[in-house]
């Protein structure tokens, strides 16, 4: 039988152990609920880490779960901003579930998800909701300044555009709506269902993965472009558009429509010129000049092809060609005509997207194509073969509106500002056909063009946010002063205080 002291010790020990276990359980419970229900405050002056009222409106309207899968390497520059931003979405809405997949460490999982989402790059963010999804490429998440590279510095992120991209994707998923694209028919255009080399079946498959809904549309006899159309594509017409058709397309653009015109130089029967589709004069109204020529570029030849099959490089930093320009991917155009800057209407701007080399030209002697040679009347290179046009004010409504008066923008925000028209014209349709689509930059050009044209996230008007960065510019003497202050001054004061205290105690 235990002695009374031992029994008392056992009792006290048992009580203590139970107490510790209960408090440990309480610790776990507090942390569980703390983890589950939390709030993130943004203490920055510019509210860099606060979701705009528009994004909050989108999250309020989100009634179904969205799995957000981040395929990114944790060391990448955009990883942290993306992760942090998605944390904010997850903190605001229980419907947003974020998962990070490191393509290097989670090979099997990454491969499974690549198969599931059919993504071609491992630097993407996928928004998945049931059978609907949106894929956002890393290149669409930030703007970079490369000017410091001449001094040996790396590219500098000047603007992070994650919020506009993510909120746009969530808005589309919440609305359960896919961008609707109509391909005109009735003028000898390329067909979506055609599986031959000259068909667009592969383009249809590619764009299907991007969640576009595509349909052929016989425009003849239609007074208007159907309501709810996000984009009209005219792909390789070989016959003339009637005036009422062009008028309907004009009204569609005026109402904020978007049009992609892929137009080949089709030789007219009997030779001597190109088929007049009626689009040349119509496009001139929007500042786009369609050349009656065939573009050749002997300095960019493709082996085994004639001089009229050319490859062209992206020009400038327009969103349509930015990715091509950064990756230095050319686009192969089997037979192209020039598309250059005309006289844009008031308030519009026109940007060249693709150009030949300086040695290229626009051959206008179409009756003698067997032995082309650059003549004085030909269009001198570099020749533009693709153009984007739209109102100059078509950029997202200023960033400031998010921050200056968030209350004024309020919850109704996602419905948004007037939609600006957009028009892209490429002097070739063949690059998108089954025979050519797989070549180098061709699929990127097609997908990026359509993504830019229907880009709903832009319509939200959430501007990019500049990361907090300070570029110090201390002179040598200033840096020396700072060095003395922080390495000698402050520690010296501590030593002095210690000596003073020591002497005081000795007295």
């Amino acid at each position: 039988m235990a002695r009374p002291e031992t029994r008392q010790q056992l009792l006290a020990g048992g009580t203590l152990s139970v107490g510790v276990i209960l408090v440990a359980a309480l610790l776990a419970i507090v942390n569980y609920f703390g983890f589950k229900y939390y709030h993130r405050f943004d203490w920055t002056h510019g509210k860099l880490y606060t979701l705009s009222e528009k994004s909050l409106g989108v999250l309020d309207g989100l009634k179904k779960d969205v799995d957000v899968v981040v395929f990114m390497r944790p060391g990448g520059e955009l990883f942290e901003p993306v992760r942090e931003l998605l944390e904010r979405y997850a903190a605001k809405s229980p419907h947003v579930k974020v998962r990070v997949v490191d393509p290097e460490k989670n090979l099997v999982e990454a491969q499974q998800l690549v198969d599931k989402y059919k993504v071609s790059s491992l630097s993407v963010v996928v928004f998945d909701s049931g059978d609907d999804r949106r894929v956002i490429e890393e290149a669409d998440l930030a703007d970079f300044d490369y000017s410091g590279m001449q001094f040996g510095a790396g590219p500098q992120m000047t603007g992070f555009k994650g919020e506009e991209a993510f909120s746009g994707a969530l808005l589309e998923l919440a609305e359960q709506r896919k961008p609707k694209i109509l391909f005109t028919s009735g003028h000898g255009e390329l067909s979506l269902d055609d599986v031959s080399e000259s068909g667009l079946s592969q383009a249809q498959a590619l764009l299907g993965k991007e969640n576009f809904e595509m349909k052929a549309w016989a425009s003849l006899g239609q007074a208007e472009v159907p309501a709810g159309t996000d984009l009209v594509v005219v792909a390789g017409p070989r016959a003339r558009f009637a005036e009422p058709e062009l008028a309907a397309l004009g009204r569609y653009l005026a109402g904020g429509g978007r049009m992609l015109v892929l137009i080949d130089p089709t030789l007219a029967p009997g030779g001597g010129g190109l088929v007049d589709t009626g689009l040349g004069a119509w496009l001139a109204n929007y500042g786009v000049k369609l050349g009656d020529d065939i573009v050749v570029d002997p300095s960019n030849p493709l082996p085994f092809y004639g001089a009229e099959t050319i490859f062209v490089n992206a020009e400038g930093t327009h969103p349509v060609v930015r990715a091509l320009e950064q990756a230095k991917l050319p686009v192969i155009l089997p037979l192209a005509r020039s598309v250059s800057r005309g006289t844009p209407p008031a308030g519009a701007e026109v940007n060249e997207l693709l150009r030949t080399s300086a040695e290229g030209w626009g051959e206008i002697d179409l009756a003698n194509l067997r032995a082309v040679a650059k003549g004085p009347a030909d269009l001198a290179g570099p020749v533009s073969v693709a153009i984007a046009a739209g109102p100059a004010a078509a950029k997202p409504p200023a960033v400031a509106e998010d921050d200056e008066d968030p209350q004024a923008n309020a919850k109704a925000a996602p419905a948004v500002a007037p939609v600006p028209w957009r028009l892209v014209v490429v002097g070739d349709a063949d690059f998108a056909t089954n025979a050519q689509l797989a070549n180098v930059g061709n699929p990127t050009l097609l997908a990026n063009t359509l993504n830019w044209m229907v880009e709903r996230q832009k319509l939200l008007g959430i501007g990019p946010k500049a990361p907090e960065q300070v570029r110090l510019n201390l002179s040598a003497s200033q840096l020396r002063w700072v060095t003395l202050w922080v390495l000698l001054g402050l520690p010296g004061l501590a030593v002095a205080a210690g000596l003073w205290m020591h002497l005081r105690r000795r007295r």
């Binding site: 880490y49 001094f151 300070v470 700072v482 501590a494």
Partner: protein, 246 residues
């Protein structure tokens, strides 16, 4: 409350009268001064990427963590262990104060001295403000993180001190515990499973400071620091109580 205040002032006085406190302060300012100078020199180089100096200062370098891992055990190692070694613990335990008051009094004194150590670093903020610009929000959040993580580390150190009679042993035990706390969360970057990653991410102190230094204050971090601090203080008071009936 009276007992708590008496213990608090007694311990705080002991800190400021101790030569070790000034050695720690000098070491602390030398290392942090070096880190700050290094950051400024780096950002002043035109080839480097632009960045916010104080954001980098708060938790973005390993030196920040080394200072915390070394300094906090030194601040707590003698708090209870010394009392036990010199036998004054018996007097304290028989005095009209509870174990909780003793523990809290000693803990807040250590916390007070720890925060005093950080006070001169406001000089770094003044330097950046003089030559550039300072957003006060992220700086305040950075100091909040310093206080939160320091509070947690000091509570763990105090507990270690209650376990060991020898100060050096207490410091080593505390150091080992803090290294565990610090590195445990870093496993977030090594594990593959989603749940494991979330759990380790919750405990990832580096990640916490990264966010706080940028001005993001997440209630999860505060819940974690406060609850674990309270748990260690509870354990310390129970450890003291256990000495009574052993």
């Amino acid at each position: 409350m009276k007992g708590l205040l008496a213990t608090f002032f007694r311990e705080l006085r002991a800190y400021f009268f101790s030569p070790l406190a000034y050695v720690v302060l000098t070491f602390f300012l030398l290392v942090n001064g070096y880190v700050f100078w290094f950051i400024l020199s780096y950002l002043n180089d035109p080839r480097s990427r632009a960045g916010a100096p104080l954001e980098l200062f708060f938790g973005q370098t390993i030196f920040f963590w080394l200072v915390l891992l070394f300094v906090t055990p030194i601040l707590t190692m003698r708090l209870i262990g010394e009392e036990r070694k010199t036998g004054t613990i018996e007097m304290l335990m028989t005095a009209p104060v509870t174990e909780t008051q003793v523990v809290l009094g000693k803990y807040f004194a250590a916390l007070g001295y720890y925060l005093f150590l950080w006070l001169p670093t406001l000089g770094y903020v003044a330097v950046v403000a003089h030559y550039g610009s300072v957003d006060p929000g992220p700086v305040a959040a950075g100091y909040l993180g310093v206080a939160g993580i320091g509070a947690l580390f000091l509570a763990a150190g105090l507990f270690a001190s209650s376990l060991a009679k020898n100060q050096i042993v207490a410091a080593i035990v505390a150091f080992a515990m803090l290294v565990f706390f610090f590195t445990f969360g870093l496993l977030e970057n090594l594990v593959a499973g989603e749940t494991a990653r979330k759990v380790f991410g919750y405990l990832n102190l580096w990640q916490h400071m990264d966010e706080l230094s940028r001005g993001i204050v997440d209630t999860r971090r505060l819940v974690y620091y406060l609850s674990v601090t309270a748990f260690f203080l509870f354990l310390t008071s129970r450890a003291l109580e256990a000495k009574k009936w052993r």
